[in-house]
């Protein structure tokens, strides 16, 4: 099995990835790549990033043994990687800090970003406040409605949130709008892309900035259990939290890597965002990977209860890992994710982000039959931002007389 995790010079993981953008953006992407490779080798850059991750964001995050949950299920020992404890409430801050340092190094004055659930938008607004840079966040109007709290947080942090009204008004449309801004203002603007998606070097760079999750988890489990886990489970939208926790384990071929996609309402077209259940390789927003599309090559609409997983394409390194058989990808329905969130809340006192709840659900499904195994589940974010959606979907808990 070949599982090289370094892309070729054109940014390809196997056949996936690459650079599919208008010519205007080609040289800016080349400059970004050169700047990133230089920063990656620069101990000063790495030291500054490590300090910020530690003292500002709160790394390392704990690897927590979910004892009650594990005992309730009666099978695998489940460990939870607590990215929900990071500053801003999700893993997204790892990448935002890395890219803002890079943007400053490149002399950029203005930062733009897309956001789905709002966690990347909040992380970007946060680092822009920290470094005193202008910040514009593009967000689909549907996502602004369902993640209102995060819209307010971004504005409180001084960012401009621009609603996007094209297409399905979700993450995909926000990325297109951010790319249109970048193509226009490329001279002074850095596009702080929030997932392991888009054109090279983004999938590589975003993965690198998040690989601290897997590196820590690997050390932590060895310290606690004296051995590697049997399975590492994470939700996958574009795939940044999953690739970040998988990366350190890729060479450990005995460790199963499990990505959980949004199974939505059903696996009928338009009802989900499970790219490996109905998608095929294609080009979207700068990248070649698995994408949900129709027979004419038009990109399909997607649905997920979780805004962060509601996207038509999966990151190219995931497509590569899937083809190689190194990672497997399974869908989880809206209903199962909501159910898993309640279970985690009631057994462990942890309210997960709806995205992360998809990963938790898969762990709950697998654990009973996995006695003797060790699981690590990436709890990529906390659920505060999703309280309105939980309330809408769990009406029985929201009655005045309920207790």
């Amino acid at each position: 099995m070949i599982t090289t995790s370094q892309p070729d010079s054109g940014g390809h993981f196997g056949p996936y990835g690459g650079r599919f953008v208008p010519e205007v953006l080609m040289n800016p992407l080349e400059e970004l790549e050169q700047a990133y490779y230089a920063a990656r080798r620069d101990p000063t850059f790495q030291a500054e990033l490590a300090d910020l991750l530690k003292d500002y964001a709160g790394r390392p995050t704990p690897l927590y043994y979910a004892k009650r949950l594990s005992q309730t299920l009666g099978g695998a020992k489940i460990y939870i990687k607590r990215e929900d404890l990071l500053h801003t409430g999700a893993h997204k801050i790892n990448n935002a800090l890395g890219q803002i340092l890079l943007a400053r190094r490149m002399g950029k004055k203005r930062i733009i970003a897309e956001t789905g659930a709002g966690q990347h938008g909040v992380a970007t607004a946060t680092v822009c406040a920290l470094f005193g840079m202008e910040c514009v966040i593009y967000m689909g109007e549907e996502d602004m409605r369902r993640q209102r709290l995060n819209v307010f947080r971004m504005r409180l942090l001084g960012a401009t949130v621009t609603g996007v009204t094209s297409g399905s008004r979700t993450l995909k449309d926000a990325i297109s709008e951010a790319m249109r801004d970048w193509v226009t203002n490329v001279g002074d603007t850095h596009y702080l892309l929030g997932s392991a998606l888009g054109s090279h070097p983004y999938p590589l760079m975003v993965r690198d900035f998040h690989s601290c999750m897997g590196a820590e988890a690997r050390e932590q489990i060895l310290a606690k259990e004296g051995r590697l886990p049997d399975q590492v489970i994470a939700c996958v939208g574009g795939g940044s939290n999953a690739i970040g926790i998988f990366h350190a384990f890729v060479p450990d071929t005995a460790v199963k890597l499990v990505g959980v996609e949004a199974g939505g309402r059903s696996l009928a077209p338009g009802e989900h965002a499970a790219r490996f259940a109905g998608g095929s390789p294609g080009v979207l927003q700068g990248c070649f990977s698995y994408v949900l599309q129709n027979g004419d090559g038009q990109i399909s609409l997607t649905h997920s209860v979780s805004a962060g997983l509601d996207y038509a394409m999966i990151g190219p390194e995931h497509a590569f890992l899937a083809d190689q058989g190194r990672a497997e990808y399974v869908p989880c329905s809206d209903a199962d994710a909501l159910e898993a969130a309640q279970t985690l809340a009631r057994t462990e006192g942890l309210i997960p982000a709806l995205e992360s709840a998809h990963g938790v659900a898969e762990a709950l499904r697998r654990a009973p039959a996995a006695k003797g195994e060790i699981f690590i589940v990436n709890l990529s974010g906390r659920g505060d931002k999703d309280i309105d959606i939980y309330r809408e979907n769990l009406k029985e808990l929201d009655e005045p007389e309920s207790n």
Binding site: F20, P22, E23, M26, T184, D296
Partner: protein
């Protein structure tokens, strides 16, 4: 192989010291049938080459005008197969060069071998891929050329010399120079970056050079005609189609506007 319709056009224009007027239209807006008569109107008004735009759900390089046209076309069921049919109908009555203008994904989905054959059979003369760099699209060039079609690539003000050389090497028929950074759409003023890009491109290729993005009126066309072989107009045409939605005057308005632009472009050479 005989010179392509595109090469013949630019040869004739050079011989007559006239600029070529290149007109973009989103195929299928407002309907595929109507696109045929709209192209005829542009030809009557003096368009020399038609860029036939294939609608795509996620047009990252386009501004609001062409985005809306794309949405209308897709809502009415436009597909690549339908656009090829439009080309075939245009070719039944006209010898105007046709360049298929598309994002990559619909072409990939259709399959490049099949596309090259079907496009040539429909009377299409060349293909331009908006979001495909020479690095990524280079592998498709031989199959497109083998079917007798030209491959036109974009050059941008942000492209360093090394990239311009690559773009020229992969292009045939002409090279499309993007006048400025940004998405498609009308601008008040033509960017100064266009002239500099033309100058740099001239040092690496003898291919005809066409300049587009933001050209909306006769004066812009005149300015571009002074420096380039071809003048590309897109959003300004599409906007007329949008503004005269449902009207029988769509064709006559388009023809009149084309005539204005053509006169402007010619004045640039006078």
């Amino acid at each position: 192989m005989n010179p392509s319709r595109i090469s013949q056009l630019f040869a004739r224009c050079r011989a007559e010291n006239q600029p070529a007027l290149i007109a973009y239209i989103t195929a299928g807006d407002p309907s595929l049938e109507r696109t045929v008569s709209l192209v005829e109107a542009m030809e009557l008004g003096g368009a020399d080459l038609i860029e036939l735009g294939v609608p795509f759900s996620d047009p990252i390089a386009d501004g609001p005008v062409i985005m809306r046209a794309t949405e209308r076309a897709l809502a009415h069921g436009a597909s690549l197969a339908g656009v090829l049919e439009v080309a075939r109908k245009i070719r039944e009555r006209s010898q105007i060069p046709i360049l298929l203008f598309s994002y990559l994904n619909p072409l990939l989905r259709y399959g490049f071998d099949r596309l090259a054959q079907d496009a040539a059979a429909a009377g299409i003369d060349g293909i331009l891929m908006t979001d495909a760099s020479v690095e990524e699209a280079g592998k498709f060039v031989p199959v497109v050329r083998a079917a007798g079609l030209d491959t036109v690539f974009l050059a941008a003000p942000t492209s360093p010399m090394e990239r311009l050389k690559q773009v020229a090497a992969y292009s045939s028929g002409f090279v499309y120079l993007v006048s400025r950074t940004g998405v498609t759409g009308v601008r008040d003023q033509l960017a100064g970056s266009a002239a500099e890009l033309v100058e740099r491109m001239r040092t690496v290729t003898d291919l005809p050079l066409a300049v587009g993005f933001g050209i909306a009126k006769a004066a812009d066309a005149a300015a571009v005609a002074k420096i380039a072989d071809g003048v590309v107009v897109g959003s300004a045409f599409v906007r007329i189609i949008e503004e005269s939605a449902g009207s029988l005057e769509m064709e006559s308005r388009l023809e009149a506007f084309t005539r204005e632009l053509k006169a402007g472009a010619r004045a640039g050479r006078a």
